[in-house]
C-alpha cells in the first residue's frame, strides 16, 4: 500500500505542476461559460416567427387577458372546448391550444403541435405571465399560485434541466476522455523512456498501473473541484449582484408588485425555481461518482492501449473502438433528454460503457420517475462491475505489453497476452 501511494504521489505531483494543467484549470471555466453563453446569445439574434395560439376560455374570466405579443397572436374562443379542439386540429396555422376550464375547476392545459422546447417554454411563460399581470391588478379572483399549467404534447421540458444535462455530458465526456488519454500517454512515456522494466523489478506491474490511474484520477478531481469552486463562486457573486433571490417562488409576488419587467421576472423565476427544485448535491455527487468510476473503467482500457504501443502514432487503431461507446452516448443525448426514462435511456444506463454519460443526462429529470433512485443505484453498480472487469483485463495485458518493443501489435496479440501465465 505504501508503495502504491508513493507511486500515486509521483504521478499526481508530476502532472499537477505542469503549466498546461494550470492553464486548463483556470481557463476552463471561462471557456465553458463562453461555450454556454454563445448559443443563448445566438438564440436572441433569431427572429422568431409569429405563432397563433387558440384560447378556449370556458371560465370567461380571461376576456382581456391575452393581448398579442411580438411573436404570439391569441385567438380567444368562449365556445365549448370540444369545438376549439377540432378547430385546433384542423388548422395547421394554429400551433397551440390553451384550455381554461370553467371556474378553473381543473388545471389549465396547454397543447402544442410544436415539439420545440424553447417555443413551448415561451408559450408557457407567456400564458403564465398574462395571468399574473391580471391577478396583480385584481382582475382575476384567484390566487395565481394555484393555477397549474399542464402541457400535454411535450414532456415537461425545461431549458434549465437540459442545460444541466448537456453540461454533465460534456464534462463527463471531457474528463473521461482527456484523463484516459493521459493514462495512455503516461504508459507510453514509461515504455519509450525504457524506465518501465526498472520500475517493475521494484514494484508489481499492477501497482505501477493502478498508481498511475489513481494519480491521474486525483488530478482530474483536483481540476473538477477547482472548476466547481470557481464556477460556484462566480455564480454566487452574479446571483447576489442581480439579487436573484427576488425571483424565487417565495418572493416573486412581492417582486412583481414592485413593478419589475414581467417577462424577465417570469424567466428568472423559472431558472431560480428549477435550480431550487433540483437536488444539486445529488447531481454533483453523482457526477463525481460517475467521473471516478467511468474514468477507472476507460482509464484501464487506455492503459492497455498504452502498453501495446511504442509511440503515440500506434494508438489510433485501439483508441477508435474505445471512443465509440462514449461518442454514441453523447450522440444519443437529445433522444434521452426528450424521453429521459424511456427504454433507450434505461438500457444505456445499465451498460457500463455508456452509463456514466447517459445517467448524467437523466439526473436533472430525476423527479419525474419514482423509481429513478433504484435505477441510479443499478447504473452505479454496473459501472463498478465494469471497471473491476476492465481493470482485471488491463492488469493481465499490461504486464506483458509493457515489455514488448518493436512489434506490430494487433488484437490477436492482446488476447494472447491476456492468457499468458505469470
Amino acid at each position: 500500500m505504501h508503495k502504491i501511494s508513493y507511486i500515486i504521489k509521483r504521478e499526481y505531483l508530476s502532472r499537477v505542476k505542469k503549466k498546461s494543467f494550470l492553464m486548463m484549470t483556470f481557463l476552463g471555466p471561462l471557456i465553458m461559460s463562453v461555450m454556454m453563453m454563445g448559443p443563448v446569445w445566438f438564440a436572441q439574434l433569431d427572429n422568431e416567427p409569429v405563432h397563433k395560439v387558440l384560447i378556449a376560455d370556458e371560465s370567461t374570466l380571461f376576456e382581456n387577458v391575452f393581448s398579442n405579443t411580438k411573436n404570439l397572436h391569441f385567438i380567444r374562443m368562449e365556445k365549448a372546448y370540444v369545438q376549439a379542439k377540432s378547430l385546433f386540429h384542423a388548422s395547421p396555422e394554429i400551433q397551440t391550444l390553451v384550455h381554461i376550464p370553467s371556474n378553473l375547476s381543473s388545471e389549465i392545459e396547454v397543447y402544442t403541435k410544436s415539439n420545440h422546447e424553447v417555443y413551448y417554454r415561451y408559450i408557457e411563460s407567456t400564458v403564465k405571465q398574462k395571468i399574473y399581470e391580471h391577478y396583480i391588478r385584481g382582475e382575476i379572483p384567484i390566487n395565481v399560485k394555484r393555477v397549474k399549467i399542464e402541457v400535454q404534447s411535450y414532456e415537461k421540458a425545461n431549458v434549465v434541466k437540459q442545460v444541466l444535462s448537456y453540461m454533465g455530458v460534456i464534462l463527463i465526456y471531457f474528463f473521461i476522455f482527456l484523463y484516459g488519454i493521459q493514462v495512455m500517454k503516461g504508459v507510453i512515456e514509461e515504455k519509450s523512456n525504457r524506465i518501465v522494466e526498472v520500475m517493475i523489478s521494484v514494484v508489481k506491474p499492477f501497482h505501477l498501473m493502478i498508481g498511475k490511474i489513481v494519480g491521474i484520477c486525483l488530478l482530474g478531481l483536483t481540476q473538477f473541484l477547482i472548476w466547481a469552486g470557481l464556477s460556484g463562486g462566480i455564480t454566487y457573486t452574479l446571483a447576489n449582484y442581480f439579487q436573484l433571490y427576488r425571483y424565487s417562488d417565495m418572493h416573486l409576488q412581492d417582486t412583481l408588485a414592485k413593478g419589475v419587467d414581467v417577462d424577465l421576472a417570469m424567466d428568472m423565476n423559472m431558472l431560480v425555481s428549477t435550480l431550487e427544485s433540483l437536488d444539486l448535491f445529488l447531481i454533483i455527487g453523482s457526477f463525481v461518482f460517475f467521473f471516478i468510476a467511468g474514468y477507472l473503467l476507460y482509464g484501464a482500457l487506455f492503459a492497455i492501449v498504452g502498453s501495446a504501443s511504442d509511440a503515440d502514432t500506434d494508438t489510433q487503431q485501439f483508441i477508435f473502438p474505445l471512443t465509440v461507446p462514449l461518442l454514441f452516448s453523447v450522440m444519443m443525448t437529445p433522444n434521452i433528454i426528450s424521453n429521459p426514462h424511456g427504454v433507450l435511456a434505461k438500457v444505456m444506463s445499465f451498460i457500463p460503457f455508456s452509463s456514466p454519460i447517459v445517467t448524467m443526462v437523466r439526473l436533472p429529470f430525476a423527479d419525474s420517475n419514482p423509481y429513478f433512485y433504484w435505477e441510479l443505484a443499478g447504473a452505479m453498480l454496473s459501472v463498478i462491475m465494469g471497471f473491476i472487469l476492465t481493470t482485471w483485463m488491463a492488469s493481465r495485458i499490461y504486464r506483458v505489453g509493457i515489455l514488448m518493443y518493436g512489434q506490430k501489435i494487433g488484437y490477436r496479440e492482446l488476447i494472447k497476452w491476456f492468457f499468458y501465465k505469470e
Binding site: K3, R194, I195, E197, V198, S201, K204, Y420, K421
Partner: protein, 304 residues
C-alpha cells in the same frame, strides 16, 4: 547465493528457457553469456520476479524466491531509462523509497554516490538536461543505491562511452570486494575475462556450459603452446606446427600436440631444447570467446 533449478518458461508455443540450472556463489561476478534471444533476459526477469517460471524453482540464500527479496536485488536492465522530467535527486529518491529505504537514508547515499561519480553539482538538474554519459551514471547509481546483495547487470556497457565503461568496471569490482554478488549478462565477450569468476553459457534456451572460468579454460585446453626459440626449423613427431614466423633469428611457433598423444609440457620442452635456445615457452589457453563460439557455433545458423 542464488540457485536456479530446472527452470523452464514458455511464451505461448515458443520455449524461452528449457530446464536451466546453475548456482551463483556469494561474492562472485557471474557471467551469463549468450546470443540475443538465447534466453538470458527471460532468466533475469525471473530472478527479478518480473515473470515467473512455468516449472522449476529459484532459491536465494536457500529460501524460495518471493517478493520480500526484491529489496536485496539491484537490476540494471538492457532496456533502461529514467523519468526525464524529474530531477536527479527526485528520481533517485523515488526508486530508493520504492525499494524500501527511508528518504533520509536515501539522501545520504545519493550524495555519497553523486560525489563518487563526480556529478554532485547536478543533483537538482532535470534528467532531460543531462548528457547521455551522465544519465548512464544516474542509471547505475539508481541500481546500486540501496546496497543490493545481488546486482544484476544486463548488457551494462551497451551504449556506454569508454570513460563510463572504465568507471563502472571499477565500481563492479569494488562492490564485489564488499561482498556483493554480481550477475553480468552479455553477448560480448571482451569484458567477461576481465570481470567474471564464473560463467554460464545459454544457447537456444538451454544451459550449455557452467563453471569457473579457470576450470572451463582448463577443460578446454587444446595443448597448444606458444614458443619462441632461436632455431631455424622445429620438427617433432606428434606435434603440429600451427603458425610459424621468424623475426631477427627468433622463431615464433604455435604448436599443437596431436590428439591421442600424452606429452607433458616438460617433455615437450626437452624436445624443443634440442633445436636451440628457448626464449619463451607458454601454454596458450583458449579465450572465453573461443569457448563461447565453440559451444554456440553449431546452432549459429538457427539464430537471428
Amino acid at each position: 547465493m542464488l540457485s536456479i533449478k530446472n527452470v523452464t518458461k514458455y511464451y505461448g508455443e515458443h520455449r524461452a528457457l528449457g530446464d536451466v540450472s546453475f548456482d551463483v556463489p556469494t561474492g562472485c561476478v557471474y557471467g551469463l553469456l549468450g546470443h540475443n534471444g538465447a534466453g538470458k533476459t527471460t532468466l533475469i526477469r525471473m530472478i527479478t520476479q518480473i515473470t515467473a517460471p512455468d516449472s522449476g524453482q529459484i532459491f536465494i540464500d536457500g529460501e524460495r524466491l518471493v517478493r520480500k527479496h526484491i529489496p536485496m536485488i539491484g537490476y540494471l536492465p538492457e532496456e533502461r531509462g529514467l523519468y526525464k522530467k524529474m530531477t536527479v535527486k527526485e528520481h533517485l529518491i523515488y526508486l530508493a523509497v520504492l525499494r524500501g529505504i527511508s528518504k533520509k537514508e536515501a539522501l545520504e547515499k545519493i550524495s555519497y554516490w553523486l560525489e563518487k561519480m563526480s556529478i554532485a553539482d547536478r543533483e537538482n538538474t532535470p534528467i532531460e538536461g543531462l548528457s547521455k554519459g551522465m544519465q548512464q551514471k544516474i542509471q547505475f547509481i539508481a541500481t546500486v543505491l540501496h546496497d543490493p546483495k545481488l546486482l544484476i547487470l544486463d548488457e551494462p556497457f551497451s551504449g556506454f562511452d569508454p570513460v563510463n565503461v572504465a568507471i563502472v568496471k571499477q565500481e563492479i569490482l569494488a562492490l564485489k570486494k564488499k561482498g556483493t554478488t554480481i550477475i553480468f549478462s552479455t553477448h560480448r565477450m571482451e569484458s567477461v575475462e576481465e570481470l567474471c569468476d564464473e560463467i554460464t553459457i545459454i544457447n537456444r534456451s538451454q544451459n550449455v556450459l557452467s563453471g569457473r572460468i579457470d576450470k572451463i579454460k582448463e577443460d578446454h585446453r587444446q595443448a597448444i603452446y606458444t614458443v619462441k626459440i632461436k632455431a631455424d626449423k622445429v620438427n617433432i613427431p606428434f606435434v603440429k606446427v600451427l603458425k610459424e614466423r621468424k623475426r631477427n633469428g627468433v622463431l615464433r611457433l604455435d604448436l599443437m600436440v596431436e590428439e591421442g598423444t600424452e606429452i607433458t609440457s616438460n617433455a615437450l620442452l626437452m624436445e624443443l631444447m634440442k633445436y636451440g635456445e628457448i626464449v619463451s615457452f607458454k601454454e596458450k589457453l583458449p579465450s572465453i570467446n573461443d569457448i563461447f563460439l565453440k559451444h554456440v557455433k553449431p546452432e549459429l545458423n538457427a539464430q537471428d
